[in-house]
Amino acid sequence: MTYPKDLAELIEEFQEVDDKMERLEMVFDMADEVVPYPPEQWNNDSKVQGCQSEAHVHVEIDDGKVLLFSGADAKLVQGLMGILTIAINGSAPAQALLLSADFAEEMGILNSLSPSRSNGFRNMFDKVMKEIREFV
């Protein structure tokens, strides 16, 4: 799969780092990239199910472009949200929908995602995509 340019660069950056802890640190740093969805607004609709910790996402379409608001208790989760933000914010919905969740694996952050519930990333990603799809 080909990724959006910003994301592709990020993946490459990650792949250059051998040490897993360092990669986690890089994800943590991405937590600042989210457009914050303030805890006061967190609600049942925005909640990502199956996450260990609280994680919320909210999608709006602004001027035909995806605008992802998000926030999480855990920094790793919010960091992944930040990466997702970089990948899709400002794209047309149809464009955003092309993204696959595999990037987190390619970045060497999550050991295995596919059918597993071992982390909430997959659920978060699916929820965002589902919300975007409603706008298409």
């Binding site: 050991n111 295995s112 596919s114 597993s116 519930r117 982390n119």
Partner: protein
């Protein structure tokens, strides 16, 4: 023969003779790669699944859920609940669907050909909920009485039918059974414990609402099985057992449940078993199951013919789609004695009521000797079996 080489147990001797394992309808043997997969799991990824972040837990979860995904692919099914086997799967339906959807006066249709595992759960539910059970008789030609079936559908909420009889090898006309039931808005549960090992089934195409089977009868490990559920019916079911992993939240005031298959899988699941079953499915997917089945049913037919020629009573018909199971009785040697005599020469056959007493009652007998053939059995073994029977008959008959 390549297939045989994959099964280490087939090299064993019994009472000084090479093992000839003809008890496959009870349980099948396991290819080496199934054992390797479980060993690999235990020696490199063992951990508890779900809701954990460490590497081993991720691998274990992946291993467990991969099995579910493989079953979904294999059967073209949308909902696959992992159970400890066919029996638990059927009990799950009785509990989770039955208690949520049936009430006094409702009717469940069973057949006389059912295994006890597809009778007793319904008897228990019937007693608790005042439900009527109707049993479809088995005819002289070892098939179901389809006229009585048609008539008995009136007012029925569920039909429970065995895909293939574990005593007779008879494969029932499921396509008709399901179509007639659905025309009547009746759901159908298929006990496919004996069907799945010999026939590749497309769950959605066949149209059943529930299908239950066990891994151990299809080269997989003990302790695991599955229930396929139609995705609409799935939504009408209440939880089965309560506990870890099947909940969304628990408070002292009450709990909410998962909405997917995990709702029905309380507690630490059968992780190593799922990994082993995956390997068994992988192994089986490399075979031409249809061709193998044709080979086996030919063996069974030949054995049945030989037995009849020798004056045995044979119970079954061994048609194209039937399984390679041959049940018979010796005219003079008691079935239990016969099984002991076979064992003394290395042959494993089963005797008894095969957990199908109502069927045996109908047939007017208390037991049969049953030889059941599977992928690793050969025509040579069948010939040895017949020769052995001749020798036994000469000496003890």
């Amino acid at each position: 023969m390549a297939i045989r080489d994959d099964f280490p147990i087939l090299k064993r001797e019994v009472n000084g003779f090479p093992l000839i394992y003809l008890d496959n309808a009870a349980t099948t043997q396991k290819p080496q790669i199934v054992l390797d997969a479980m060993n690999e799991y235990y020696t490199s990824s063992n951990a508890n699944v779900h809701r954990a972040v460490h590497t081993l837990a991720g691998e274990a979860t992946e291993g467990y859920e991969t099995c579910r995904q493989q079953l979904k692919n294999w059967f073209n099914a949308e909902r696959v609940v992992m159970t400890s086997g066919t029996t638990e799967a059927i009990n799950l339906v009785a509990h989770s669907w039955g208690r949520a959807n049936l009430s006094a006066g409702d009717v469940i249709v069973l057949t006389e050909m059912e295994h006890h595992s597809d009778i007793v759960p319904w008897q228990m539910l019937a007693e608790e909920r005042k439900i009527e059970l109707r049993y479809i008789p088995v005819l002289e030609d070892f098939t179901l009485d389809m006229d009585i079936y048609a008539a008995s559908l009136e007012g029925a909420k569920l039909v429970c039918v065995v895909h293939t009889s574990n005593v007779l090898g008879v494969r029932n006309p499921l396509e008709d059974i399901i179509q007639m039931a659905h025309a009547n808005d009746t759901l159908v549960l298929v006990d496919a414990a004996q069907g799945v090992p010999h026939e590749r089934i497309d769950f959605q195409e066949c149209g059943a609402d529930f299908m239950a089977f066990s891994a151990h009868k299809m080269c997989g490990p003990t302790g695991i099985g599955a229930l396929l559920i139609d995705s609409e019916v799935f939504e009408t079911m209440q939880p089965f057992m309560g506990g870890g992993d099947m909940i969304e939240t628990v408070t002292v005031d009450g709990s909410t449940y998962q909405t997917d298959e995990h709702k029905f899988e309380a507690g630490t699941p059968r992780i190593a078993e799922a990994v082993g079953w995956s390997a068994a499915l992988d192994w089986m997917s490399k075979l031409d199951l249809k061709k193998e089945h044709q080979r086996l049913i030919k063996i069974a037919r030949w054995v049945a013919e030989q037995l009849r020629t020798m004056g045995m009573s044979v119970y079954g018909r061994h048609e194209e789609l039937d399984s390679a199971v041959v049940s018979f009785l010796h005219p003079t040697i008691h079935s239990e004695d016969l099984a002991h005599l076979f064992d003394s020469r290395g042959f494993a056959v089963r005797t008894g009521h095969h957990c199908a007493q109502p069927l045996l009652n109908r047939l007017g007998i208390a037991s049969t000797v049953r030889a059941s053939f599977y992928l690793y059995n050969t025509i040579e073994e069948a010939q040895l079996f017949i020769e052995q029977l001749k020798e036994i008959t000469e000496r003890f008959g």
